[in-house]
Symmetry: C2
Subunit: 278 residues, 2 copies
Amino acid sequence: MPRRKMTPAAAARYKAGLAHALEAGYEVLRRGNSLDAVCAAVVALEDSPLFNAGRGACYNTDEKHELDASVMDGATLRAGAVAAVSRIRNPVLAARAVMEKSRHVLLAGRGAERFARAHGLELVPDSYFATQSRLAALRKKLVGHHGTVGAVARDANGNLAAATSTGGYTGKLPGRIGDSPIIGAGNYADNACAVSGTGLGEAFIRGVLAYDVAARMRYLGEPLAKAARAAMRKLAGLQGDGGLIAVDHRGNIVMPFNSEGMYRAAIDRKGRRTIAIY
Amino acid sequence: MPRRKMTPAAAARYKAGLAHALEAGYEVLRRGNSLDAVCAAVVALEDSPLFNAGRGACYNTDEKHELDASVMDGATLRAGAVAAVSRIRNPVLAARAVMEKSRHVLLAGRGAERFARAHGLELVPDSYFATQSRLAALRKKLVGHHGTVGAVARDANGNLAAATSTGGYTGKLPGRIGDSPIIGAGNYADNACAVSGTGLGEAFIRGVLAYDVAARMRYLGEPLAKAARAAMRKLAGLQGDGGLIAVDHRGNIVMPFNSEGMYRAAIDRKGRRTIAIY
């Protein structure tokens, strides 16, 4: 939401939503691992109607919701994703099920939903995803309004993980898959860095941006912040706006963006919390 | 096909199919650009029932065909892809239409088919993709038999392009999307190198293998052959088999693989032809 349209009350709601997801992830991280933590944080964001993932997702040109999500485990390079799913309450959990319970990385559409159902995930009717403000955005032709939720974490064992989930953007074509379920584009984790992206998905895909951060760290020896800045320059060169959140093996955190704002929150090594919008 | 099962007659048929696609691409390349050339070569391979793409594609567990394809233009970093499509005769042409006629990079399923129809591409009935040998493979539980077709080219202007197309693998789950339509995984092109992969798609996705070749060349300064060998080692480390074809800005060609064979063909700068299976 542009800063000029943001009211104090709305900003407070968004920050409360961010804080809730942050604490949900942190609570798991303190007792468990990074993979569980990023999933817990993303589930909280999917369940909130404020964010464009799960409940509250954008509408496509058919006035339907098609959701994308992925997860990657930095310790093992395992990954799972779902794309263009319309009936799975928490796409990130379906992505994790694909990772853990199939031989595949990416399942789409009805096949993904059938898989999710077979593995006990909650399916919901279309109406679950409906929000008046998102529908109004479509009907007012506010095409291009986008957003993505994501989480990255490093746990006490030094293992990293990343999760990303989105409804895409208002007015996308049916069947459009963005960068969020694409390993390397909108999501990537190894044990040197974990990255989740938000913004114009097509530019993230063309620039292979999430993996590019990891590649620059590994091959150029760049620190995370420098590699992330370079990825943001590449994004701008592809006429893309957006941002990313990333953490490295030492627990350094970066959250750069070239859009007007990016809803973001973090807890660092010392337990210091950051919650910000612009 | 394992070497011990390959007959001289079958080898001759495969080599003729490769030669036909090679000449189809080369004919276009002599008069035109690399993007047109890789599409022409891949169309020829999709139209041949011998190869696992378009006609002749593998069956999934529902005894259906779901096809993936992508194309990337190295000069502009534009890309297009379709995934899990069942009615488009030439998925690579639909991928190109997504690149040139939409704001998206990747469309899947029915939405992709609707888009293809709207842009004048030929749709075909299920029966078009049917082949007895592939169906027999599924029913004999020959799960895991895979293959992909692809083409890379450098044109006289120094522009590179890559195209990849596949039916996935026998016995895949409905909705499974492999690496072929994933930019960075099974397909990547900039004007330093163009890469198309074949093999266990899940490993190509997790390793972001096609882009990894480009990243190593750019960031480590490695020549194409060395970067491609490193990608093959990474593939093996991910328990993946397969191979890739790649060309660099100077027209150097590499076609490494760690599987028993890889149907492959090339024409180099001097017009010398290579056609080989093992």
